[in-house]
Symmetry: C2
Amino acid sequence: MRVEILNTGTELLLGNTVNTHAAWFGRELFKLGLRVARQTTVPDGEAIREAIESCVARADVLIVTGGLGPTSDDLTRELAAAALGLDLITDEAALRSIEAFFAARGRPMAEANRKQALAPVGCDVLPNPNGTAPGIYIPPRINGRSDCALFLLPGPPRELQPMVHAEVVPRLRALTGGALPAASIELKFTGIGESDFHQGIDARLAEIEGLEYGYCARIGEVDLRLIGGTDAIARAKEIALWSFADFLISDDGSSLEQTVIALLARHRLTLATAESCTGGLVADRLTNVPGASEVFTHGFVTYANEAKTAVLGVPAADIVAHGAVSEIVARKMAEGALRVSGASLAVAVTGIAGPGGGTPEKPVGTAWIGLAAKDATTTASQILQPRQRRDFKLAASQAALDAVRRALIAR
Amino acid sequence: MRVEILNTGTELLLGNTVNTHAAWFGRELFKLGLRVARQTTVPDGEAIREAIESCVARADVLIVTGGLGPTSDDLTRELAAAALGLDLITDEAALRSIEAFFAARGRPMAEANRKQALAPVGCDVLPNPNGTAPGIYIPPRINGRSDCALFLLPGPPRELQPMVHAEVVPRLRALTGGALPAASIELKFTGIGESDFHQGIDARLAEIEGLEYGYCARIGEVDLRLIGGTDAIARAKEIALWSFADFLISDDGSSLEQTVIALLARHRLTLATAESCTGGLVADRLTNVPGASEVFTHGFVTYANEAKTAVLGVPAADIVAHGAVSEIVARKMAEGALRVSGASLAVAVTGIAGPGGGTPEKPVGTAWIGLAAKDATTTASQILQPRQRRDFKLAASQAALDAVRRALIAR
């Protein structure tokens, strides 16, 4: 089944907004065993009609995003109907739910919003609980012109994504006659690279009947996606974990910071951070997780050497003797953060983010991670990730969070 | 001049990589007074040829990204030549520079890399100082088949972007016969919204002859882009600054954090941060700027109330009486950070990121910013930005950095 995505919106082509729809649909459709064959972006206006005409000539399913709002440049509904030779009429149920949306917010409905209830005869109006623009599903062969099924969806991700899960996925399953795979999971790993998977397990995964799989390598992370029957997935998961269980972040899509927060909560432990080269990124990532405040209490960004000494009690002599980026300083930072915060665990990271500051012995990309706990010996580990400044910070923050994860699963 | 972008790469359609090329080209071409008329993504392989054929039939300029690497699925070069009926020959200069790239890194050149030196006869090979894949420029009417000019560029942004500035932009200027605008600038503002510009200056900007302009609204920021003759730009900038000079972050594309770091360096001052709801994001943003270590010394993430008291000396009684999200606590956090760090300035932020924790008096989205300086009275300001957790953190970090900017430009 050939699926195409058509994103509409002048803002996407002016560069005001990065188009994240394309990647999101790629991942969601992969879970269903489907691929995006082509993705196109066109500006608001007549170009939409021409693009729909050429897409429906090639595709079995066309998903169109954007242009369903109330303003004069929101024309996707009208242009799709014109491209397929369909008439638009007001859908009374859709109109009532738009009116209800405004009533619930105590605001009057503008006249312009009425057109959002228009839909071609014989099509399904897809409810939008998160906005005023309902989606539209145009089945194939509705007027004999096209064998392509069309979905017209609102542009904002927080409106589009729930609509895809509730309304689009079931219709895609029906269109394929139930041929879509029964299940899919994503296993996230850290501390190993994509080549480890290729060398370690790829040949065995390839032998599993009814399994599709793919890797996605990010900074400090490899995601393994498995789709297929439940038996095939279970077998593949078993193979992956037999080799790489130690490196598993999650099997449910949870990020490393979500996993760390959940583990801390489960063990009723608290965490403090002491950061130099990551500059607050470890704390920032932890506090992106709702509920972080239950387990994360103190973060120290000791960027200057004097801060390491004055705030965390790292002996100035150690910094002079070994340098700020050293095993001993990483350990002392972690121990200092533990002592000052009173938390159960503390993680520290010190490294050279660059572009300046590297030496032959300690090149840009070097970092030491220290981990201290109330009831355990302090440990330290080193990474070397020579990358651009921001990517290095991400890699070092990943290593620091993983040190916490490993300490927690060992309990 | 109609410009289209064709991005190639299966990883873009599987969702492994978010396509940032489209937005980047939108912004870069806007500076030249050009628009992207359409953007298309296709997977590696034969689909590239078909897409090139349909793009060149519509466009005056087609920019193709990706698929110039050494592996068997890197076929853009071959498929573009086939689409246009051109023969590929080895470009000796390109081959020598690929050999030199490997020699400089002490690695042998693989046989597979030889094909990266292939180019159609009569085309320009575009040097790639940052990788092994040279770009290719195919002028219009090279074989009478197409009036479209083609650029084939490598996929990785750190290879592509310098090549666009060095090789593509001059050729685009030549193709338009010098009709492109003389200049463009971007003015970044914070603390005001897009509607302030519409009400305040839009009508006057619209009257300026030879000016194109556009707004880009981000969280806590509006970017005003001006393109046209130098006189038109100067006039527009004068109008914008007459109304909104107080809100100007930069007129050279610098981010708020870059501006703050530069102002601190110019005044030879140091900064400390004390963060609650932003959880380290303010420190993280500051330390993304190379050279931040010269002026940013200490960051405190006092997420728990006890941390605010124990680390920064915020009186527990103030927290009990006024709540952790209050003007007095923001002031005391800033003063505590100033005292503990010995920095010249300290900024503090405390707020309710949600989803939980809001009350009718202090809803989710409330934050207080405190600013303390060695030689000045502590000040505080409030924002209300009811957004999703991450977006609220971004908005609050923007307000905190802007408080520092305002204090520094007042000196």
